[in-house]
């Protein structure tokens, strides 16, 4: 296992990865950069990393998709989203993918350090459990990592299926209610317009 903590910074702007390198290299981290999503996914497939920072908007695969693919294949690997444009939709999608943090640019050195420490502490907690079991029996370790990754999903599986099966009935209720809601809205806007004139 590598002694250096490897951090992958994914951003099409080389200045950003240089900033991360400047801040984190002094702290003993190895910062590796990728200029787009495809390169990042390829690196993640072939090498071991401890943390990923990714921008959202890049040519080709977006950072959110990188995050989703990383969390799908390596759920234990922390991913931090870094963006200058944070919409609620992006944040919601990032949260759904299970990212550790959603940072907004511009980043100060303190923010980079704090975010790294925070994300790695999550990584260390997962890794410590996995590695201690790994030393005893590699097969059991693999199973436990898989299980810990699946554990939160198990509770939500039933909820997911229940929502899936309830969806058409909720949809029907919305369809039935829609004309009344529409008429109510028209009446409300009409009332407001009349009141404004008066």
């Amino acid at each position: 296992m590598s002694v250096l903590t490897k951090i992958l910074v994914v951003d099409d702007d080389p200045v950003v990865s240089k900033s991360f390198d400047r801040v984190l290299a002094n702290k003993g981290y190895a910062v590796i950069s990728a200029s787009n999503g495809e390169e990042a996914l390829s690196k993640l497939k072939n090498e071991h990393y401890d943390l990923v920072f990714t921008d959202i908007k890049m040519p080709g695969i977006s950072g959110l998709e990188v995050a989703e693919q990383v969390k799908a294949s390596q759920p234990w690997l922390p991913v931090v989203i870094v963006t200058g444009y944070g919409s609620d939709a992006y944040e919601a999608r990032a949260a759904a993918a299970g990212v550790s943090e959603f940072l907004r640019k511009p980043l100060s050195p303190e923010m980079i350090e704090a975010s790294t420490a925070h994300a790695l502490s999550q990584r260390v907690m997962t890794a410590t459990v996995a590695e201690s079991v790994e030393m005893a029996a590699p097969q059991i370790a693999a199973a436990s990592v898989e299980q810990s990754a699946e554990a939160p999903a198990k509770g939500s599986t039933i909820k997911n299926i229940a929502l899936f099966l309830a969806a058409p009935f909720i949809g029907l209720a919305y369809i039935v209610a829609m004309p009344f809601v529409g008429l109510g809205m028209l009446a409300w806007f009409g009332y407001k317009a009349v009141m404004k004139r008066a």
């Binding site: 959202i56 969806a167 809205m185």
Partner: protein, 214 residues
């Protein structure tokens, strides 16, 4: 125009299901018209129309279970989750209706932003939930009953008799026939007329970036 980026929205099983469904539905509609309206349409012999209708019907049922299984056992199940907040649902639905009725002709941006788990706008989402999890299974059920009314006599009687089963099957057939025309029209309303069609082959939707910088 803003920069575009690609998003993998349609996984392979969904694309296989979609195109198998599309071809099968067209075949079902053509043979169905010939079977239901004898003498008005003569695309093939009556027997061949019935045999083809039955065969393609079972292909569609098998295909449905491919779709059902994929969504049931993957995290993409969220795509078909309902919006539980009525306020949000109606607000977003009316925004979408305003866009289709007015905004689209004024070049305004689509209020819905596609993501992996929210690929449908609120109107689409509600429609597909009802179609895929209610109307399609009812159409399959009534179709199987009509396939062999003697064997499924109990089921037919429980449904209210052959006439009721037939009426439901034909009404849904009319609905799906209308859908086959509306669906490609709505699919042509992407950033280019063919964008959504291409996406259903490649799996990648082209998404317009938000106006602000990085």
């Amino acid at each position: 125009m803003n920069q575009m980026h690609k998003l993998y929205v349609h996984p392979l099983p969904v694309r296989i299901w979609h195109w198998t469904n599309a071809i099968s539905f067209i075949l079902m509609i053509l043979t169905g018209v010939q079977i239901r309206y004898i003498g008005m349409v003569n695309l093939m012999s009556f027997k061949m129309a019935v045999d083809l209708h039955n065969l393609v019907g079972f292909v569609l049922i098998a295909n449905f279970f491919l779709w059902f299984g994929f969504y049931l056992f993957s995290d993409k199940i969220k795509v078909y989750h309902p919006e539980l907040s009525p306020m949000k649902h109606f607000r977003d639905s009316f925004r979408q209706m305003m866009f289709y009725g007015y905004g689209i002709f004024r070049g305004q941006p689509n209020p819905h932003h596609v993501s992996v788990y929210h690929k449908f706008n609120p109107m689409q989402s509600m429609t597909y939930q009802i179609i895929m999890l209610l109307l399609v299974p009812i159409q399959f059920y009534t179709g199987v009953l009509l396939w062999d009314v003697e064997m499924f006599e109990t089921g037919v009687n429980l449904f209210g008799g052959v006439r009721v089963v037939d009426t439901v099957h034909v009404l849904l057939f009319i609905f799906f026939s209308a859908f086959i025309f509306i669906h490609p029209y709505l699919a042509s309303l992407g950033h280019t007329p063919t964008a959504h069609f291409k996406a259903m082959f490649t799996g990648y939707e082209e998404i317009e970036d938000e106006p602000a910088g990085h």
